[in-house]
Structures are given as structure tokens and as C-alpha cells.
């Protein structure tokens, strides 16, 4: 194998509001049956990358639970495997990960002890399907030092939350500005990088010496004029979920048949942890339309234009509209929910109402006691 993988999953975003108080972004549930990191992990596995490191830091409980076994993504191998790196205190270091570069630098032995010539670095908050070998081919052909996967975002989307990229006619990156105040274009970094392993080690060691800790700001941006940094423009579906709006929209995108077919039916598959839940059950009087329903759900009420994640219980006469109900939520009878994201493991009391606005999705966090029949 020619590359090892690194997934940066330590981040938190204040743009996710209450949703990430309980978990890292990489562990955010997606499309009923998945978590965000499944996409990067499955892409790695499907690109035949056998050795993958996941760097976690911020509230990794859900994430660690999800990564309890590497077998779901086929990483349970003698060669390679899945490595989860959390910050640890060692004889010569007592810091947390002070940035993405620092996270890798603190675990430089992982890079040094590998023999694969290239490293694929991806973030845990992207929803996409990509064969990294294609990017690697491109990287080699361009004789690039770093290749960044980029995506043209629609004019309607705010590009200032991404790294904005300018390229010349050869796709060589001429300018790279991270989260600019005013967006300089609509070509943004997808947070996926390919780099030679030795080159990365060199960068990291130098950055550590200079006490610089961020991979984008302190390595990519600083070298944009010195090193050959290329843009690989990705044409297919790609979405970053790190704001409430984009998280909501990304999930709702799966109600679109083409997107569903692309992710669910076209080879290769996206893998996830198997939870052995029974089939979804629709009782007399249930009414469901244009919705995704996951295993373990029991539906008695009415659900439309919504996504029910695993093990949701919907009571009698309850109406769910244009909402996302995360894992293991119990919703009592006669409840009305519209334009909401209901947090995992919530219990919604009977006869309650939660309404958000279509352009301002309400996040519902309720910890009532649950009386299970």
C-alpha cells in the first residue's frame, strides 16, 4: 500500500450550538444509520488504505464508543489497523493537542514507523465518497508537494467558513486564505490533503521547533509560495457538517433519491458500526411520507419530510414535520414537532410542542425521565 491515513477528529465548533456539547463533530449522526467519521473511514478502507490514525480530543466519548472495534470498516488486520490517538501526558510533553499539526507532531512515531511513502489527511466532518487513489495519482502526476482536495461551493453558501483557494491555469494553488473575512472565491478546501510522509515529518518537526501548531495556518499557508501545492477539484457530492444549518441540510439531502442512490446503492458502500436493532415497526394509524426511518424505530404517529435515526419511538397522534430526530429518542403522545433537531436520548413529554423556523432550526434538548412500558 502506498499511503497511510490520518483523520483529524478532535475538533469542536461553536457553530454547532448545543449539538456538540455532547460529542465531537466527527461523531455527529448522519443520514439515519451513520456517523460523520464513517465517510472518511469508509473512503480510506475503500481506497485500500490499511493503516489509519484517528486523532481525537474534544469530548470523544461518543466517538470512542463508535470506534469500539475496527472490524466495521475492515481495519481489523494484522497489517495496519485503526489507531486512535488521544492526548496523553508523557515524560517530555504535558500538553493537550494544541492544534492539528501538534496532534500529529506529538504522535510523530506513528508517521516515522510507517513505511508507506504517502499520507492522506482527512477531517472527520465531511460527507462524501472519494477514492483517494485518484487524488494520489494526480498528486504524483503533478509532482506536487501537497495536494488539497477542493470543492466549488454554490454562490448561496457562505465560503468564509472554509479555506478559500485561488489557483492558476495548472491548478497550482496561488493563494490560500483560511476562513477569510470576505470570501475570495467559491473554490474551498475540503480539508483533505495528500503529502509525502517524509515531507510531512519534516514540516511537523520544523513547526514544533517554532512552536507553531496548526496544519493549515502554519504549514500550508506559510508554504504556499515555496512549495508546489495543487488543488484537486472534486466534482461529486461533498458537504461539511460543521454548522447547524449545513448539518440539517446535509441530512435532508438524503431525502433526495439521486443522493441516496449515490451513497447507499452505488458501489462502494459506506460502512458503520452494526447495532443489531430490529426492523422498524409501523403500528396502526401511523402515517409516514418522504422520510428516512432507521432500524429499531417504532412509529405510531405522523412523520413527514423528516429523518428518524435509530431507536426513535413516536407516540400516538404525534406529528413530526421537517425535523431530525437523533438516536434513541422517546416522543410521547400528542406531541407536535416542526423544524427541529431533537438531541439523542431525549425524552419528550406528551402534549408538548416544539416549533422552529425553516431558516432557523431549533435544537431540542430535553432530559425528562423516561418511563418505559
Amino acid at each position: 500500500m502506498r499511503a497511510i491515513g490520518i483523520i483529524l477528529a478532535g475538533g469542536n465548533s461553536n457553530k454547532m450550538g448545543k449539538l456538540t456539547t455532547r460529542r465531537a463533530i466527527a461523531a455527529m449522526p448522519i443520514a439515519g444509520g451513520y456517523r460523520s467519521i464513517d465517510f472518511a473511514l469508509s473512503n480510506m478502507s475503500n481506497s485500500h488504505i490499511q493503516k489509519v490514525a484517528v486523532f481525537t480530543q474534544y469530548n470523544a466519548k461518543s466517538l470512542n464508543e463508535h470506534l469500539n472495534s475496527s472490524k466495521w470498516w475492515d481495519f481489523g488486520r494484522k497489517q495496519g489497523g485503526l489507531f486512535v490517538f488521544t492526548p496523553t501526558i508523557t515524560a517530555d510533553n504535558g500538553f493537550w493537542f494544541r492544534g492539528t499539526a501538534d496532534a500529529m507532531a506529538q504522535n510523530i512515531s506513528f508517521l516515522k514507523n510507517s513505511h508507506e511513502p504517502y499520507v492522506v489527511i482527512a477531517s472527520g466532518d465531511g460527507v462524501y465518497k472519494l477514492d483517494y487513489n485518484k487524488v494520489l495519482e494526480y498528486h504524483i502526476n503533478k509532482k506536487a508537494d501537497i495536494t488539497i482536495v477542493t470543492k466549488r461551493v454554490p454562490a448561496t453558501e457562505d465560503a468564509t467558513r472554509f479555506g478559500c483557494v485561488q489557483v492558476d491555469s495548472e491548478n497550482r494553488i496561488t493563494d490560500f486564505e483560511e476562513k477569510p473575512i470576505v470570501s475570495t472565491g467559491n473554490l474551498v478546501s475540503a480539508g483533505i490533503y495528500i503529502i509525502r510522509r517524509r515531507q510531512l515529518i519534516e514540516f511537523l518537526e520544523k513547526a514544533e521547533e517554532e512552536e507553531r501548531y496548526d496544519f493549515v495556518q502554519d504549514i500550508i499557508v506559510r508554504h504556499k509560495n515555496i512549495k508546489r501545492i495543487y488543488s484537486y477539484e472534486f466534482e461529486d457530492y461533498w458537504s461539511n457538517i460543521a454548522t447547524v444549518d449545513s448539518y440539517f441540510k446535509t441530512n435532508m439531502d438524503f431525502l433526495n433519491k439521486d443522493i441516496r442512490n449515490y451513497f447507499f446503492k452505488q458501489y462502494p458502500d459506506v460502512y458503520s458500526r452494526i447495532e443489531d436493532l430490529p426492523p422498524a415497526k409501523y403500528n396502526l394509524g401511523s402515517k409516514v411520507s418522504n422520510s428516512l426511518i432507521s432500524s429499531g424505530c417504532i412509529v405510531n404517529g405522523e412523520v413527514s419530510n423528516s429523518i428518524l435515526f435509530k431507536k426513535a419511538y413516536i407516540g400516538n397522534n404525534t406529528v413530526i414535520k421537517n425535523s431530525i430526530i437523533l438516536n434513541d429518542v422517546f416522543i410521547g403522545d400528542n406531541v407536535y414537532i416542526e423544524n427541529c433537531i431533537v438531541e439523542s436520548r431525549d425524552t419528550i413529554r406528551p402534549n408538548s410542542t416544539y416549533v422552529g423556523e425553516p431558516d432557523h432550526i431549533r435544537i431540542v434538548v430535553e432530559h425528562n425521565e423516561r418511563f418505559v412500558l
Binding site: K71, L255, R260, D276, P279, K281, Y282
Partner: protein, 423 residues
């Protein structure tokens, strides 16, 4: 030295011929059940939930599906360093080579497998019942009674007892007599085909009766042990237990799963049933779909109307379809505007547009009235049904059928189309 207190031997080699075309190409334990499961998931899950981590699965009839389903046992946590699941097909020997000729003969041919684990007790299971049972509790009962053999039994209504093998016990549950399908039953404790043997007793009996033709537990081993005065006890089980041996009982027990609170509840956290799931995505219910009383598996897409049915994983039900009281197994595609009533549609069947199924008078099946009854339409796996045909009741279809196979686009009630060997 390896030592396992109890190992299980799961008899999964039978055809289950009373399921007709459903088992034409797969062994009965590999037949789908309840939307995403296969019948063998129930005994396998019971094993691991009971702490039995060494299971030999004896296969013989059409084992491909069974082999791929079980693999190395990962879904049931039966991938172990020592023990785990082993698939045991019949094999060639230096002196003689024979198929498994009976249940006990199959176990006899795998004496070495059992010896390797050096067990105290051996649990003998079948692969054709739907139930949740803690074998460890049964083992406690076996030990407490210092039994040589313990049979799991279940009380059945007295009027139905004549369909079963019943046991007559004393007040301590020690078995005094066996009666096979008695006309006038004196007891309603029916044997469930689940046995715990003390290993030495089993070994001795199997070796003694090794030349018995078609050596069977119920017919030979148990009577032999009873005659020589072994301590045989009846363990009474009182939970849900369903034999899915006929199309009628198979259909019925699937339908019981969609009751408001099913007697056999798959939604309890305790005693999970595990299965191999290849399909992870959620199911999609379209704008115009109607679903009234159903259970539906992962990755299924529904654009039509579903009433009172069990739908598997990876199924597509197109617009305008109306489906009632039916079982649709994994990977089936049903074309537009079909009307389907009381059908069992096996894995990966493709049905064209405008097909009407389960219409007409109830006429006994011409080929096998004993199998294809209950007014059901039964379609074997990987079959194709062309667009625009009408199919009556008590019918069976297997193979890639085309319009030429249907007289005037119609398969009358009681008729069959069995195209064996075609793919």
C-alpha cells in the same frame, strides 16, 4: 488442555421440504424471517446469550447461503480464539464415506469435534424454530436433577398434543414414558427437539448405535437410553416457541411480529437477536407511500402502499403497488401498480409491473396440496415474474418465468410454475 463445560451442536442440514419452493435452493435454517433475520439467527443468538460460545453447525442440504451467512460467526460474537462457530459438513473418510443419514448419525460423525473441546455436556439444537431460550437455565435444571439427558418441553393445548411427541413425567419431571403423536395423549408436554446430554452418556449411546440406519435422536438414541434406565428429565419451557415448518405457520409467525405488542418481542433490550446485516442505510418512505401495520428492514424504499406486512431489507416497492398480508424477503423488487395479497416472496425476486397476485377462488394445489395451502402465493428466491400477469391462490412459482409460462397471462389458483435448474 481445552475444556468447555457445554458445547452446542446445531442441526442445520435439513431441507424443510414442507416450505416448498422457499427451500428449493437454501436450507431451511437460512430462510429469511421477520424482516431482516434468518431462522438460524434465533438458536445462534440463544447460544451466545446463554454463554455457549462453541457451536458446531451441521450442514448438508444446500449449504451455500448458510455458509456465507454464518461466515466466521462475527455477528453473534462467535469468532473466538478457542471455540466459536464451526461449520461441519459431511466428509470423506478412509473406510467409508456417507452423508448424514439421521440427526444422531450426523452428531456421531463429528465425535472428534466434540472430543476436541472436552465438554461435560452437549446441547443438541435444531435450526427451525423461532424462540428465545436461556440454555444455561436448562443446564442448571439438568445438573440439579443429576440427569443423563434433559429434554426441553413446552405445554401445548391438549387437543393439539396429538401432533407432537409428548412425554409423561412423574412429579419430579423425570420422564416415565414417551409417546410419539399419540391418538389419545396422556400429557400435553411436547418435546421441542432440544436436548442436553451428559457427554459420556451421549458418546456411549452414539457409539453403541453407530450401525443403526438413519440413526435419529427421537427414534433411536432417546428410546435406547430410556430402556437402559438413564435418568431423563423434562425441562418445562414457557415462553414463545414457534415451529415454522409449514408455509402456514411460517406466514402466521411472521404476521405475529406486527401486532401492537407482539408476544415475541424483538424490541426488548434484553436477549437481542443478532444477524449478519450487509445493509446499513435507513429505509425511505416516499411522499405518496402508505404504511399501515408493518415491519420494514434497512435500506428498503417504499413508494407504494403496504398494509399488514413484513418487508425485508433492501426491498424496492414501486408506485401504485398495494401489498397486503404478505411477507417480502430481502432484496426483492416489486414493479409499479402491482396488487399483492397474502404472498410469500423470497429473496431477490423481481416482479414486473401490473402483476396481480392472490386473486380468485381458493382451489387446492394440484402438485402438493399439503404444502401450498392456506391461500398463499409462494415465490421461490431469485425468481422473476413478468409484467401484467395474474396469479391465483395456493400457487407456487420458482425460476425465471416469462409470459410464455402463463396461459393467457394467468396462473390459475392451485397451479404451479417450477422451472428447476434455471437461473
Amino acid at each position: 488442555m481445552i475444556k468447555k463445560e457445554m458445547i452446542a451442536m446445531l442441526l442445520a442440514g435439513g431441507q424443510g421440504s414442507r416450505l416448498g419452493v422457499l427451500t428449493a435452493n437454501v436450507a431451511k435454517p437460512a430462510v429469511a424471517f421477520g424482516g431482516k433475520y434468518r431462522i438460524i439467527d434465533f438458536p445462534l443468538s440463544n447460544c451466545i446469550n446463554s454463554g455457549v460460545d462453541t457451536v458446531g453447525v451441521l450442514t448438508q442440504y444446500q449449504p451455500l447461503r448458510l455458509n456465507t451467512h454464518i461466515g466466521i460467526g462475527i455477528p453473534w460474537d462467535l469468532d473466538r480464539n478457542i471455540g466459536g462457530v464451526s461449520i461441519l459438513p459431511p466428509y470423506e473418510k478412509s473406510t467409508s464415506s456417507e452423508w448424514y443419514t439421521g440427526t444422531a448419525n450426523a452428531i456421531y460423525q463429528n465425535l472428534e469435534f466434540m472430543e476436541y473441546y472436552n465438554p461435560e455436556y452437549v446441547l443438541i439444537l435444531g435450526g427451525d424454530h423461532i424462540y428465545k431460550m436461556d440454555y444455561e437455565v436448562m443446564l442448571e435444571f439438568h445438573k440439579a436433577n443429576k440427569a443423563d439427558i434433559t429434554l426441553a418441553t413446552i405445554p401445548v393445548p391438549m387437543e393439539e398434543a396429538s401432533r407432537f411427541g409428548v412425554v409423561i413425567t412423574d412429579e419430579n419431571k423425570k420422564i416415565l414414558e414417551f409417546e410419539e403423536k399419540p391418538e389419545k395423549p396422556r400429557s400435553n408436554l411436547a418435546s421441542m427437539g432440544i436436548y442436553i446430554f451428559s457427554w459420556k452418556v451421549l458418546r456411549e449411546a452414539l457409539i453403541t448405535l453407530k450401525d443403526q440406519k438413519g440413526c435419529d435422536f427421537g427414534k433411536h438414541i432417546i428410546p435406547y437410553c430410556h430402556e437402559r434406565g438413564d435418568r431423563i428429565f423434562a425441562y418445562e419451557y414457557n415462553g414463545y416457541w414457534k415451529d415454522v415448518g409449514t408455509l402456514g405457520s411460517y406466514w402466521e409467525s411472521n404476521m405475529e411480529l406486527i401486532d401492537l405488542v407482539p408476544v415475541f418481542n424483538l424490541y426488548e433490550e434484553f436477549w437481542k437477536i443478532y444477524t449478519k446485516s450487509d445493509i446499513i442505510p435507513p429505509q425511505y418512505i416516499s411522499e405518496d407511500a402508505v404504511i399501515d401495520k408493518a415491519i420494514i428492514g434497512e435500506g428498503t424504499e417504499i413508494y407504494g402502499k403496504v398494509y399488514n406486512s413484513v418487508i425485508g431489507s433492501g426491498v424496492t416497492i414501486e408506485e401504485g403497488v398495494e401489498i397486503r398480508d404478505s411477507i417480502v424477503m430481502n432484496g426483492v423488487t416489486i414493479g409499479k401498480n402491482c396488487i399483492i395479497e397474502k404472498a410469500i416472496i423470497a429473496d431477490n425476486v423481481v416482479i414486473g409491473d401490473d402483476v396481480i397476485m392472490g386473486e380468485g377462488e381458493e382451489v387446492p394445489n394440484k402438485l402438493r396440496p399439503d404444502i401450498y395451502a392456506f391461500g398463499l402465493v409462494t415465490i421461490g428466491e431469485n425468481s422473476t415474474v413478468p409484467s401484467g400477469v395474474k396469479i391465483g391462490k395456493n400457487t407456487a412459482i420458482s425460476g425465471k418465468t416469462t409470459l410464455e409460462d402463463y396461459k393467457e397471462n394467468c396462473l390459475e389458483s392451485g397451479e404451479n410454475i417450477i422451472k428447476a435448474g434455471e437461473r
